[in-house]
Amino acid sequence: MDFATFLVQCLNAVQYGLLLFLVASGLTLIFGIMGVINLAHGSFYMIGAYLAFSLAPVFGGAFLPTLAAGLVLAVIFGYLLEWLFISYLYERDHLQQVLMTYGLILVFEELRSILVGNDVHGVPVPGWLSGSIQLGDLMAYPVYRLVISGVCLAVAALLYFVIARTRLGMMVRAGGSNREMVQSLGIDIKFLYRVVFAAGVALAVLAGMIAAPVSSVYPGMGAQVLIVCFVVVVIGGIGSVRGAFLAALLVGIVDTFGKVLFPQVAGITIYLLMAAILLWRPEGLFRQG
């Protein structure tokens, strides 16, 4: 592997890892703070991709308005979903959580099939981001992929700021530590959970929307990303956004280079990574917080 190829693979690994982080951060927050195993989380990624496909014509293909409209819809959707379904799961055991959220996957897939059909769709890269950056004499790297990484990094920084530096972040962390005490201090935990869930949905939808131009839009894409994101959450430590960030990058690197260097075992490299890390640290890389 020459240096330019290595560089391209590094950039791909980072971009894939950061995209995984967007989805996994919401999953780990919902799991770690609210105690809900949300199998439907991958569906939000799929919904994001389909929103990018469906909303683009509405806004004449304009990328940013499409993104903004998708995010607004995602927050509203997440808020309503928590209120109508997820809020009934907090006092239930994990089996019931799994059953209901699996049911939601089926509903979302069916709705997708009815509304958009079962074809594979493409979403064009926005014209102003469609260029490439030259890496050496023979290799070029798409600007759009760099933008994906940039957006993900910006969101990660924002997420870190909100969780570590704001009153809302304190409440969210406190809620993960002791739900009953948070209530005893006058904090409306139901509203807090609704906000966390809506934010988690918005992050996954954002990931799906910005990934759509490079991954295409197809049925079942949510299930694929969900499994990898659970690997990220387990490696990073359940409930830890910092852990999810590091784990997502690790998974991105191992998956990307696994496919290049060991194509025969590419399908299991991330699971080997997970097994190795759990042998070393059974609770994952970081504790919640």
């Binding site: 406190a174 993960g176 530590s177 006058g186 919640q288």
Partner: protein, 239 residues
């Protein structure tokens, strides 16, 4: 607020844990500025009564009043926002938050917009916390955690402070310190409901004492009056 203003009231409250009938018709009133001791042996229903007042448990019968409103169906966060602060048994410090964050997470003006307990005043009251502001909550000793739990409750500028097992498991020197602080808080006019094992100290630091036995109020009187009958009290409390 007049001294007779009723802040919290329980009338003929019954609570069940499944088949177990834990509270069997308890009545209790906390008025503004009043310090009440809640005594009783283990398992007599003290914590159950407190958790019912705070909205964490539902009474199967009877009436709860929070500032004159029906508190029986009030959510715990609404009870707290009505000016009732709670320091639970075991303290429930947020171990993943720093001391500063524990003191800031719920800080807000009290009823009527009062802000009697800003962070500097809390740190004046608990100088130890000031030295450890950036430490994690789980890094504190038991005494420091109790101070933090009380400071966190004060940050909500309450009218009533409920302390469940105020000095449990603390070293004698720290126990003294906690009681000194409770005295300071009492002097500011905050009403309190205090559960503690040391009945003599409770009698010395409260206006009135209520004794629970098997889910019933079996003794209730002015603290000074009960202090004059220590044998009866000791018999009731099994000490």
């Amino acid at each position: 607020m007049s001294i007779d203003a009723k802040l919290v009231g329980a009338r003929d409250v019954h609570v069940h844990y499944g088949e177990a009938h834990v509270l069997r018709g308890v009545s209790l009133t906390i008025r503004a500025g009043e310090a009440i001791g809640l005594l009783g042996r283990n398992g007599m229903g003290k914590s159950t009564l407190i958790r019912t007042l705070m909205g964490h448990l539902r009474a199967s019968r009877g009436r709860i009043e929070i500032r004159g409103q029906d508190g029986a169906r009030m959510r715990p966060d609404r009870v707290a926002r009505s000016g009732i602060a709670y320091v639970p048994e075991g303290r429930a410090i947020f171990g993943n938050l720093s001391v500063r964050e524990n003191l800031m997470v719920a800080a807000r003006p009290g009823t009527g917009g009062r802000d009697d307990w800003p962070l500097p005043r809390i740190l004046d009251t608990f100088p130890r916390l000031g030295e450890r502001l950036d430490h994690g909550g789980q890094q504190l000793s038991g005494g420091e955690q109790q101070m933090l739990a009380i400071g966190r409750a004060l940050s909500t500028n309450p009218d009533v402070l409920i302390l469940d097992e105020a000095t449990e498991g603390l070293a004698p020197r720290i126990v003294q310190e906690i009681w000194r602080i409770i005295g300071t808080i009492r002097a500011t006019g905050i009403a309190s409901l205090i559960v503690d094992r040391n009945f003599r100290t409770v009698l010395a630091n409260t206006d009135r004492v209520v004794v629970l036995e098997k889910g019933l109020v079996v003794l209730e009187d002015r603290s000074a009056a009960l202090a004059a009958q220590p044998v009866e009290l000791a018999r009731r409390l099994g000490v």
